[in-house]
């Protein structure tokens, strides 16, 4: 998961914060287990993510990061699990929307993703 961890710039944060599909996570959530392929790209706008190994927390990721781009585009499994802590605000970009962004390269999402490739 580390290879796919990128810091968001302020303008990127604004883009995600204005989206309708912004989610607030009310309870701790195992988003991914080790060796799984991410379901979606995860943009953490507020709160915290824990990266885990054998269910034990190893590293904490603060808000303002985006994870999983490299892994989801290449169907690669992650080396660490990912737990989203309660109260976090996130945006999830599914595989379909990500692939569509590559078809419409003038889209804001594509411009954002391109920076991290």
């Amino acid at each position: 998961m580390k290879k796919s961890l990128n810091k968001l710039q302020p303008e990127d944060l604004s883009f995600f914060q204005s989206r309708e599909d912004l989610l607030t996570i009310p309870t701790d959530m195992d988003f991914l287990y080790e060796k799984q392929i991410p379901h979606a790209v995860l943009a953490l706008l507020q709160g915290e993510i824990q990266l885990t190994k054998k269910s034990k927390p190893k590293e904490s990721i603060p808000s303002g990061h985006i994870l999983g781009i490299h892994h989801i585009l290449n169907d690669l499994p992650v080396s660490m699990g990912c737990k989203i802590l309660k109260g976090s605000k996130i945006v999830l970009i599914g595989k379909f929307e990500l692939l569509e962004a590559f078809r419409f390269t003038d889209s804001k999402l594509y411009q954002l993703i391109k920076k991290f490739l």
């Binding site: 599909d21 989610l23 607030t24 996570i25 009310p26 309870t27 701790d28 959530m29 195992d30 287990y33 060796k35 799984q36 392929i37 991410p38 379901h39 979606a40 989801i72 169907d75 499994p77 999830l92 599914g94 595989k95 379909f96 929307e97 692939l99």
Partner: protein
């Protein structure tokens, strides 16, 4: 998950018993291209009660229990899902947070299709929408029947009914008896039929004594379906 183990939807052996039955190869190929397939071990959680849905899950292999946790922390199992079943559809379409938690009870491989894409496919493929409506309608019927059972039937009848429904969903006929190809703990059985563990243990022992069922290791076998139907007070 190893890329070589990702199964294309066109080749999926569960296609015909899932909501995706009737779809042509082209839309199935599109779903394959846009889905993510993962392995889950026993005990892993697929989604949590109270969290917002962001897509649909489809079980390729394994079994998953869907259970509500009450304020007292007690678990009530609503249903068991197996290969070909979809999960999370009710919350997705009703735009509510998950009202139950989905936990793997037998190692599973599960496909995930995100919300935006599933809505696109529903729009493009009316047969999928109709299949979903049929599935939701059937589930509503099962929930109504179960609710009635809880009120009108005693524990013995509910247990017999559960064993028969497990036989229908997971039974494998061998040598004149039905092997239940699902392992549930006594606690899980008690949770499904709404009673205490001790009561389940007592009635299972009674059923064995009556020659209705037998057990080898952790596997249950149904020996006398006809008499079990009578115990369940059902008209099949």
């Amino acid at each position: 998950m190893d890329k070589s183990r990702i199964i294309d939807c066109e080749k999926c052996t569960n296609k015909e018993k899932s909501v995706f039955c009737g779809l042509e190869d082209a839309p199935l190929s599109s779903i394959s291209h846009n889905k993510v397939m993962n392995n889950y071990k026993k005990g892993h959680t697929i989604f949590f009660q109270g969290n917002p849905p962001f897509g649909l899950f489809c079980i390729n292999e394994g079994k998953v229990k869907i259970a509500k946790i009450g304020n007292d922390g007690k678990e009530s199992i609503i249903r068991i899902a197996g290969p070909g079943d979809v999960l999370g559809h009710r919350s997705l379409f009703s735009r509510e947070n998950y009202t139950a938690t989905a936990t793997v009870i037998e190692d599973a491989s599960v496909c995930f299709i995100d919300k935006k894409f599933i809505y696109k496919v529903l729009h493009d493929e009316p047969s999928l929408a109709i299949n979903m409506i049929q599935k939701l309608s059937r589930e509503m019927g099962i929930a109504e029947a179960r609710s009635t059972s809880m009120v009108q039937k005693n524990v013995c009848e509910r247990l017999a009914e559960l064993l028969l429904s497990l036989m229908k969903a997971y039974g494998v006929q061998e040598e004149g008896r039905w092997r239940l190809n699902i392992k549930l703990t006594r606690e899980e059985i008690a949770s499904i039929i709404g009673t205490a563990n001790e009561t389940v243990i007592r009635f299972i022992s009674d059923f064995k004594h009556e020659g209705l069922i037998e057990q080898e290791g952790k596997t249950l076998y149904i020996l006398d379906e006809k008499r079990l139907l009578q115990f369940a007070n059902l008209n099949y």
